[in-house]
Amino acid sequence: MRVSDTMLFTNSLQDSRRSRAAVLDSQQKLSSGLRVTAPSEDTSAYIKAKRLDDALKTSEAYLENIARAQSNLQTSEGVLGEANNILSRVKELAVQMANGVHEANGRAAAALEVVELRGTLIQIGNTKIGEEYLFAGNLTDTVPFDSAGVYHGDSNQRMVEVGSGLKVATNISGDTVFNAAGGVDVFAMLSDLETQLNNNDPDAIAALLDDVDIAINQVISGRSDLGNYINTAQVAESVVNRLNEDLSTEKSRLIDTDIMDSSSKMALNSQALEASLAAISRVMNISLINRL
């Protein structure tokens, strides 16, 4: 083979250029931490990673939804706990006052307490988080219970997505707790109780005791529903978190730099570059010109 001088120079140039490009490439991958930054670098990995990224974005929304749902549900559950206490106190009063030993003025005092408790209960029914009434069903901008205890919300439950195809309720409507179909209208019952207390009628008061129990059960079952929803939300949260981890790991596997791999490649490429530079300097020094 004939070797011309231009060949010698261009080949050397090309070799060192290639080695340098390889060193730069592995250096970039190491410093950016990314193996793939554009579809052309690894089309299928890039597009899979994009899908995972989309799923991660949706997961973020799920996690926010779960947090909001939990806050709603826990507040609802908390205030229904209060309602439970109030109705227990009502039951205590009713049981006491159904007993003949009490005088009219004792019953009148009890009636005043019942009025006050009823007012607190209406306030509980009108609990707000931010701008939204918790117990108004979908009509979150409407005061659910007026002072007469009449319900103005609707009986819808709002569901939010907390996972792909997984929804959890974020509320229970006020009527299922305080005015259930086939159950007791709690506020009407309390008004009755007040009336009978003022009427000083122990028998009529005793007759209301069953309704008080039913009312307490309505609240308890509302709380237990809420408890179930909170559990569902918690389960959903751990599912989404685990999914997020899997998605991130998979995404990283697809497009992140393999540090060990890139470091060893970088070391290898640097050595190759040095070797080729050494070879070039050796070859460049050999010429007949130096000997003649």
């Binding site: 004939r2 579809p39 597009i47 949706t58 926010e64 979908n138 979150t140 709002r158």
Partner: protein, 464 residues
């Protein structure tokens, strides 16, 4: 007597020949770095000794070391390599526009995911005006990203067109230089021909960078340059011009014509396959058109799918029938035209979260229907999801760019290989030339010695 004088003459031709060879050798040495220079050597032949002639040596020709087959392949290699190089910039631009990485901005794919995510967030509090605004801004960002991607594709086409027009001018220059050099070589095939041929070779290479050509050399040393589609771009001294003419049917982009010496224009836009021009034409008229159509289809599908669900729902104000995106009239141009619908723009209450007007503000069931679009096959005639359809677009440009990247490497390597093969034949080796220098110095000294010796012999003869 006559014999001795003829020896003197022979010595003289030896001196001449050695000097001539020295001349050629030094030409080789000084042009060691000249691009396209072809190593040459003087062809020596003996002058017949007496009788009949006076004897001695003469340089009868200058031989250029060329391998014409290799030179043809080199032109082809140059066309391939230049085609791959020319495609790089427009492809990078389109890739960046269609699939930008974080930091540069969201690409349409991420923007779509953001929209679904914003809608899912609104589910938990449909009356929250901040969350509603988030949905609107995600929607308008998605529209803007698609607009930007469409612009990116258009820019890539514009750039290709710009370069094409410039290249037509360059091609004309090279064709005319080649024709002019043909004329000079034809008129004077021996003396200056080696340098003129080297020059012409440089122009042929430059022309091959622009367009794929085939070259045939005739007996006078003149070349015929045959371009794509079998048109003779240069034939001997005759050539024409390459013209870029703005064409309405190409949407204002340039058509390429070859105007021959009689002023007749031959359209060659569709005949050009190779070189930078072939590659840019392919990008401008095929690949980018294809991507643009895909993007239009995506924008159209997306607007149609979202609008169908959104317009059936109710806003906070209880109003129904509003589109989320401005519904494109047709697929063509949808990507450039897509925007948030004026009836919802700047009006967060208009986001249709509810399916039941009586359920406002808490009803979020329409949001469920909207987020469900993420997993429904609503794109490409109901065959794939929106994000899968966009994934196909990203895959298309990704594969195209990746294959061009490897094409650049491969064509670059094979061109380097060819150049090195050519160098093996035509390149100058200083070592060789040094040896030649010594060789011709010796032969010069030896010829001088012949003259000196003959002179002494003449002296001897004179002193008899």
């Amino acid at each position: 007597m006559a014999g001795l004088f003829s020896i003197l003459n022979q010595g003289h031709t030896g001196l001449n020949a050695s000097r001539y060879q020295m001349n050629i050798t030094s030409q080789n040495i000084t042009n060691v770095n000249t691009p396209g220079y072809t190593r040459r050597v003087g062809v020596q032949s003996p002058i017949q000794p007496p009788p009949p002639g006076g004897g001695g040596v003469q340089v009868t020709d200058i031989h250029r070391y060329v391998n014409e087959f290799l030179d043809q392949r080199l032109l082809l290699g140059i066309s391939y390599q230049s085609a791959a190089q020319a495609a790089d910039s427009p492809l990078s631009q389109a890739e960046g526009a269609l699939a930008a990485e974080d930091g540069v901005g969201l690409d349409p794919s991420s923007a779509l995911a953001e929209l679904f995510s914003a809608m899912a967030r609104l589910e938990s509090s449909p009356s929250d005006s901040a969350l509603r605004r988030d949905v609107l801004s995600a929607a308008s960002q998605l529209a803007e990203r698609i607009n930007a991607a469409a612009d990116g594709i258009k820019n890539a086409r514009d750039e290709a067109d710009f370069f094409l027009r410039d290249m037509a001018v360059q091609a004309t220059e090279h064709m005319q230089k080649i024709a002019a050099l043909n004329r000079q070589i034809g008129a004077n095939p021996y003396e200056a021909a080696p340098d003129l041929k080297d020059q012409r070779n440089q122009h042929l290479k430059a022309l091959a960078e622009l367009i794929d050509i085939r070259v045939e050399e005739d007996s006078l040393g003149m070349v015929t340059v045959i371009g794509s589609g079998g048109i003779n771009l240069v034939q001997g001294e005759v050539t024409g011009t390459m013209e870029a003419v703005t064409s309405l049917s190409l949407g204002g982009y340039a058509e390429i014509n070859f105007v021959d010496e009689n002023g007749i224009a031959h359209p060659i836009t569709h005949a050009i396959r190779g070189g930078a021009m072939g590659s840019l034409l392919n990008i401008r008229d095929t690949l980018m058109v294809d991507l643009g159509n895909d993007l239009d289809q995506h924008a159209f599908d997306l607007a149609t799918a979202f609008n169908a669900v959104h317009s059936a729902g109710f806003g906070l104000d209880g109003v129904s029938g509003r589109d989320l995106f401005l519904q494109p009239a047709a697929v063509a141009g949808a990507a450039q035209a897509i925007a948030i619908d004026p009836s919802v723009a700047g009006n967060p209450d208009a986001v249709a979260a509810a399916t039941d007007p009586l359920g406002v503000p808490g009803d979020n069931t329409n949001l469920h229907l909207l987020t469900a679009l993420e997993n429904q096959n609503v794109a490409l005639g109901g065959t794939v999801t929106l994000s899968a359809a966009y994934g196909k677009i990203m895959a298309k440009i990704g594969v195209e760019k990746a294959s061009n990247d490897s094409e650049i490497l491969f064509r670059g390597d094979s061109l380097a290989q060819l150049e090195s093969l050519r160098e093996e034949v035509s390149g100058v080796s200083i070592d060789e030339e040094m040896i030649s220098l010594v060789q011709y110095q010796r032969s010069y000294e030896a010829a001088a010695k012949v003259i000196e010796t003959t002179n002494k012999m003449l002296d001897t003869l004179m002193n008899l």
